[in-house]
């Protein structure tokens, strides 16, 4: 174990994989965005810069480039920058990568990772703040992973890179500078395996990506009020570890879902539906969802702040279901 930033752990996974897989290429240079961690991409560029292609501003073609190459047998990590930009490539992601294996009767495989940064990022306004996870999860044939910690990003990225199923790997730029313990050497975190971030008996908070940290902060605050919250991080949205989530709800009898996306047809909506379908009789209170208010993301800082499903909103939602 070594203490590292999330950004370093992500690059470690790419460097390790590039070292062992010759048929592997990276499309996109600014893998760590343009923030304080951008320079941490250097170890990758030093060792495997020849594997990195710097494409034009051309997301549809970048997706096609990666998907076609993956079909031809080269594993691909394709970086899209802000998740909003994947909307320029959504046809390729959904209609080419997502359907190819099934539509060809299992003949074609598409080993590609679509990497992007979702969410509110300060000043992103209405076109650079998208959280497309539930939109993508609504379509078949695509795995969808959302890591939260430095250790997880390394192990989950390796799993995605080795998978023959196209994987949406949705990061959050605000996580890049966070630190944590990261196992040394290559390891994999299996798909569909949720992590219990904090154990508790009174209420289950299911959160994804950056919202996990908000949920943990909320749980700390709630503990001071005598409320014992359990925080569940699904880590992969597709496939979803329903067993761990439902087991937690059976134990606590209360569910609050938290995410950065919009509430309509959200990941939280899906989990709430699962709870209603499968553990209805275990519920002691109505389910609550904490998500973005249904407005385009505004630029002005206090307005953008108001879009965030942060700790305060989570605490309020938990108290409402505990009442």
């Amino acid at each position: 174990m070594t203490r590292k930033t999330y950004a370093e752990a992500l690059i470690d996974a790419l460097v390790e994989f590039a070292g062992e897989e010759k048929k592997f290429a990276i499309i996109g240079r600014g893998i760590l965005g343009h923030g304080a961690q951008a320079h941490l991409v250097e170890p990758l560029m030093e060792k495997f810069g020849d594997r990195v292609t710097d494409p034009p501003t051309s997301e549809g073609a970048v997706a096609s480039l990666g998907i076609g190459a993956a079909m031809a047998g080269t594993r691909i990590f394709a970086h899209f920058g802000t998740a909003s930009f994947t909307m320029e490539a959504v046809n390729q992601i959904i209609h080419e990568a997502g359907v190819a294996h099934s539509m060809s009767g299992g003949q074609i495989k598409v080993p590609i990772v679509f990497h992007m940064f979702h969410g509110l990022r300060r000043g992103g306004s209405g076109q650079h703040s998208l959280s497309p996870q539930s939109m993508f999860a609504n379509n078949p044939g695509l795995h969808l992973m959302m890591p939260t910690t430095p250790g997880d990003v390394k192990g989950m990225l390796r799993t995605a890179l080795k998978s023959d199923t196209p994987t949406l790997f949705i990061d959050h730029a605000a996580l890049l500078g966070t630190e944590g313990e990261v196992p040394d050497g290559p390891f994999e975190i299996p798909l569909g395996e949720a992590a219990i971030r904090r154990e508790g008996d009174d209420v289950t908070i299911v959160a994804t990506s950056r919202a996990v940290h908000w949920a943990e902060a909320a749980a700390d605050q709630l503990a001071g009020d005598g409320i014992d919250a359990e925080v569940v991080d699904p880590r992969s949205v597709v496939p979803l570890d329903t067993e761990t989530i439902l087991k937690s709800i059976r134990k606590t009898g209360r569910l609050v879902c938290v995410e950065e996306g919009y509430q309509m047809c959200s990941i939280g909506s899906e989990i709430a539906a699962l709870a209603a379908e499968q553990v209805f009789k275990s519920l002691k209170a109505p389910v609550a969802r904490v998500a973005r208010p249904p407005a385009p993301v505004p630029f002005s800082p206090p307005l953008e702040e108001a879009m965030m499903p942060g700790p305060g909103k989570i605490v309020a939602a938990v108290k409402a279901v505990m009442a």
């Binding site: 096609s64 076609g68 079909m71 031809a72 080269t74 390729q92």
Partner: protein, 334 residues
């Protein structure tokens, strides 16, 4: 399974063209005889272009077809019975009934995903060229598409990327834009190859119905693509088959009669001009008989053999059951 015609074997090239034509005619019959939900996009009239390119390329080359794909699949050796079964949505179809007529796929014959999103295959072909290049392969990536595909934005992005990265891609544009009718493309550029030219992609124009011209590797500068010099855009000019734009099965030019290759006086009907002047299959039969490559009897014998094979293919496809819905979720994830 019939092997694709070897380079320079003109009789085999002709046989391949006959197979492509007779297969599509059978697709029309299937659509007429069965309650049928799909729509057909037939390759009739494009055989000289399709078979010509297939015969000239290497078996390792990767093909990316679009919704007008059937001819390419069977020309490269996909089993006509399994292809027809797929078009009918049957269990033994090439894709197990998951693709249908727009998405025939046979990886063993060098086909990647067959996209019916207009322009989709152009992007994927550029990707395959990238994959082959990163693997140090000598194979090239090929995509065919109609002129109407150039209306789509992805084409411009993909052509740009192929040029910038000097990828080994052959862009085969089957240009059947017809003046005086609703054009299949609506481009401000009046000369199609102005588009690749502007992006520094080498472009060539070939007479699409002339099988020998298309089959000559010089037609698309095979060496240029294979030695890493970058992509080539081959514009094959074709006169659109009168049945090309249709939603209901019909034979506007009639079932093909190869004796018209040498009995031209009998060419009649509202589409006589197309049959006489623009049907590359009839033209090639006429040419091969005229230059002594095949006799009239040999032409008709080839046709009979092909038709016998098509009959077997139809019997196979019709005997194949529909897939069991219990397998609905098979292969969603790899």
């Amino acid at each position: 399974m019939t092997a694709p015609p070897a380079p320079g074997d003109r009789a085999a090239l002709f046989q391949c063209m006959v197979l492509m034509r007779r297969f599509e005619e059978e697709v029309l019959r299937v659509a007429r005889d069965h309650p049928y939900v799909g729509r057909q996009h037939l390759h009739i009239g494009h055989e000289a272009t399709g078979a010509g390119v297939v015969s000239a390329l290497s078996p390792d080359d990767l093909f990316h077809t679009n919704h007008r794909n059937h001819g390419y699949l069977i020309a490269r050796g996909a089993d006509p019975g399994r292809a027809l079964a797929e078009i009918m949505g049957r269990k033994d179809g090439l894709n197990g009934g998951r693709g249908g007529p727009w998405h025939l796929c046979d990886r063993s014959a060098g086909f990647q995903s067959t996209s019916a999103m207009v322009g989709g295959s152009v992007g994927l072909a550029v990707g395959a060229g990238f994959g082959l290049k990163t693997q140090g392969s000598k194979a090239i990536s090929v995509t065919h598409f109609g002129d109407g595909t150039l209306d789509e934005g992805i084409c411009y992005e993909a052509l740009n990327l192929a040029s910038l990265l000097a990828l080994p891609v052959l862009f085969l544009c089957e240009n059947n834009a017809k003046e005086g009718q609703r054009p299949s493309s609506m481009l401000a550029a009046k000369v199609l190859h102005d588009v690749p030219d502007a992006l520094q992609i080498r472009s060539l124009v070939v007479d699409g119905p002339d099988a020998d011209a298309v089959a000559a590797p010089a037609a698309y500068e095979d060496d240029h693509i294979r030695d890493g010099s970058g992509p080539v855009f081959l514009q094959a000019d074709l006169e659109r088959w009168p049945g090309s734009h249709q939603t209901k099965p019909e034979f506007p030019t009639g079932v093909t009669d190869l004796t018209l290759a040498w009995e031209e006086d009998r060419i009649q009907g509202p589409h006589a001009e197309w049959v006489r002047d623009h049907d590359g299959l009839r033209a090639y039969a006429k040419k091969l008989v005229a230059d002594g490559t095949l006799s009239e009897d040999q032409v008709l014998e080839i046709d009979r053999d092909v038709l016998a094979g098509i009959e077997e293919a139809r019997a196979f496809a019709e005997a194949s059951p529909y897939p069991d819905p219990s397998g609905l979720l098979d292969n969603v994830f790899a």
